[in-house]
Amino acid sequence: MALARVVPSLVGVSVLVFLIVHAIPGDPAVIAAGLEATPDTVEQIRRNLGLDRPLPEQFVTFVSRALQGELGTSIRTGSPVMEEIISKFPFTAILALCSVLVAALVGVVAGVVAAVRHNGWVDHLVMSTTLLAVSTPGYWLGLMLMLTFSVWLGLLPAIGASTPLHFVLPVLTLGLQSAGEVARMTRATLLDVLGEEYLRAARARGVSWRRVLWRHALANTLVPITTILGLRFGGLLAGTVLVESVFAIPGMGRMMVEAVVARDFPMIQGGVLVVATLYVVVNAATDALAMVVNPRLRT
């Protein structure tokens, strides 16, 4: 059933990407040849890239190759697109996964604390901090974290991706923003649930407050939280574009930006296809997870 939705999404995405890439102004052959090249050189490059063929033919070639896992050769770097993606993807995956973890951990804890101390000063502190986190541009937050922890405190490396320590600041940049959203969602859901009759009934039966909170109330917040984390994961894949540029991490986001700047058609198409596939798969997985945590969703 999930597969039935995945396939049309991916077909749609590949058609869209192909059309967009060819509709935006800018000719990859001209850019690849450089400003000082002769028209002859440009023509030669265009032929080599197959860009002189009619559009429908180019599309058929692209799709039939993609189906065989063959995404072509990058115009900018001259290496196979698949190879480029395989070398860049781990960085982005680590970033996105760690950020989701940070978001879940920090977000849920902050949300629960705020809900329990509803209207207390802790609640106000959490609410204003999360508002700040959600509305802070990632670019700026990243630079501020770098300024604080690398320049002033000298605790962490500012840029690069060679050791686990290098990932702390980028993960915080991405994770804290999502944490804000998760915290607010957790708090709101929990407050709703805490007002429910069955919890008061449970308390009346003598179940401890702690057990009511962690066992009964929190279980009901899991569905919205998993959903929001699944959605955030897509957002995080997009957010890595900025963070990878700021922290000079050689991931997919930066690769895609550079591909777009150079109008590197095969790279843009291949990259978007991979990210889209991932996004669709993660969403399908989130749906499945939601069914696990909430039996009512099972049909």
């Binding site: 800018g26 400003l35 770098m146 690398s150 060679s162 000079a248 050689p250 700047v261």
Partner: protein, 519 residues
């Protein structure tokens, strides 16, 4: 609520995560360092001297390769792989006596055959190397004996020496070039020259690691390892430098210059450069086809104000069509703002009330959008109402090089000029000469006298006559029949940690590291 509220939480979190991630490596410390880390905005695209047109690639190529001739930091031509050289009375035959005892990085001895093979490669029209247009004046390159090589040009060519000193004339190791063909320079193994550093590894978009060549003929460089690290964001480059993650950075964002100049532990290294910022005219568009209109625009611009307010300390107002460090530069003086003169010129041309004008720009150039805004506002008093269009680089390139002139909608457009031979020929000829393929003449400039003068200058090998011709050419294109509004000449500025010595920026926009010492 301020940032202060967020920081303690962030700090606690950082420590938690850092602990969770487990033992990362300690940051480097110690008194002496054998490694220098240089951060630039982009990775090299290739290390093939025949296929590069970007400064980032040139930067690395310049450390790994050498040509027969080269430029020192004052742009004087010096012998590198050639010890002596001379031109025959015919003006087209150049003989180079090569340095003996030089080897490529894999140990292959450097001989005349390598020179012949290198130029045969770039001149082979079938291979379509990007730098072929630079060498169209070359007829052939012949081996005389192992250490003598002869170049014959198709005609007397005044800019021959600067062309041979250009980075794209670097000599490749023919064995490696043959093995990798067009893949030469795409990876560490596929790169081999005679320069003071050799490529050890290249992780794309992460780092290029270079190691010094022990006993290099110019002397063993003091610093053993040099790491080239791309950091795309200007602000991040600056912070990485301040945090001590890197030792030297290029392309300092202009708004940061003032702060860094005063910052403790940071030094700014500055040189005049070959780079100038201009707005070029598309002379096929009405009313820009009228030279008086272009003169009026040029006189309406307040270059001083632009330099003082937008690029303080970063540039000086233009004084000619080339920058003073370039061979063939003529000082024609700053064009002062003179609104009365500008209005009179417009009246004469039949536009007493001005006209609407489109200005195209791209943020690819530092302050590109701000510069267009400044120009637009300065044109207002003479009745020209300019609208600004901002494009990304690919779209700009498409307008210039990918469309026939009649389809190019641009009227006035931003352009950074900088001829990488630092010579008037390459700085003027491809840009303003009437040409069927328009080379780099994206404003479709055409002036019969300019064409005549520039052709004559190109074929002139007598230095005094050559300079006189270039002076005339610049009078035409800068004053009489302007091809562009020249705004300012850029300084080339790099920032370094205070403990770094012996690093010098070159006017070509690259940094020389072979004498660098890191304390």
């Amino acid at each position: 609520m301020s940032v202060r509220g967020l920081l303690p939480c962030a700090l606690a979190l950082t420590l938690a995560v850092a602990a969770g991630c487990g033992g990362g490596s300690q940051r480097e410390g110690g008194a002496t360092r054998d490694t220098l880390i240089f951060a630039a905005p982009a990775d090299a695209t290739t290390l093939d001297p025949h296929n590069t047109t970007d400064t980032e690639s040139d930067q690395v190529i310049g450390m790994v390769f050498e040509g027969l001739l080269g430029f020192d930091d004052q742009m004087k031509i010096v012998g590198r792989l050639a010890e002596t050289w001379s031109v025959a009375p015919d003006g087209v035959t150049w003989t180079f006596n090569l340095r003996k005892g030089v080897a490529f990085h894999d140990g292959t001895p450097f001989t005349a055959e390598a020179v012949r093979a290198t130029f045969a490669r770039v001149l082979d029209p079938a291979q379509k190397h990007k730098r072929l247009p630079l060498f169209v004046m070359l007829d052939r390159v012949e081996v005389v004996d192992d250490y003598t090589v002869r170049f014959v040009t198709k005609y007397q060519f005044g800019a021959f020496e600067p062309t041979i000193a250009h980075i794209s004339s670097a000599i490749l190791n023919p064995a490696v070039a043959n093995r990798f063909g067009l893949g030469f320079g795409r990876s560490a193994e596929a790169t081999s020259g005679t320069g003071p550093y050799r490529v050890v590894s290249w992780k794309k978009d992460q780092e290029i690691v270079l190691e010094r060549v022990e006993g290099h003929w110019r002397g063993t460089p003091p610093t053993r390892r040099l790491i080239y690290r791309p950091i795309p964001e200007g602000a991040s480059r600056v912070l990485a430098l301040e945090a001590g993650d890197v030792d030297v950075i290029s392309r300092v964002p202009p708004p940061e210059l003032k702060r860094l100049e005063a910052a403790e532990g940071i030094q700014l290294l500055k040189t005049v450069s070959i780079g100038a910022q201009q707005f070029r005219f598309n002379v096929t568009k009405k009313p820009l086809n009228d030279a008086r209109v272009r003169q009026a625009i040029s006189h309406a611009i307040d270059r001083r104000a632009i330099v003082d307010q937008l690029v303080t300390g970063f540039a000086t107002p233009s004084t000619g069509a080339l920058t003073p460090i370039m061979r063939g530069y003529a000082n024609l003086g700053e064009i002062p703002r003179d609104l009365d003169k500008a209005r009179a010129l417009l009246r004469e041309a039949g536009y007493p009330n001005g006209f609407p004008l489109k200005i195209a720009t791209t943020p690819r150039y530092p302050m590109g959008v701000e510069l267009a805004e400044a120009v637009a506002s300065q044109l207002k008093p003479i009745g020209i109402t300019a609208s600004i269009q901002v494009f990304d680089w690919a779209t700009m390139v498409q307008f210039w090089a990918g469309l026939p002139p009649e389809k190019n909608p641009q009227e006035m457009f931003i352009m950074g000029a900088g001829a990488s031979t630092a010579d008037a020929d390459w700085g003027l000829r491809p840009i303003f000469r009437t040409a069927p393929t328009n080379e780099n003449n994206y404003g479709y400039y055409s002036n019969a006298e300019f064409d005549r003068v520039i052709e004559a200058a190109m074929r002139e090998t007598d230095e005094a006559r050559r300079l006189a011709l270039y002076k005339r050419a610049q009078e035409i294109v800068y004053l009489e029949d302007p091809g562009a509004v020249w705004l300012f000449d850029n300084f080339y500025i790099v920032a370094a940690r205070a403990g770094v010595e012996g690093v010098s920026p070159s006017p070509l926009g690259v940094v020389t590291f072979e004498r660098a010492v890191v304390h």
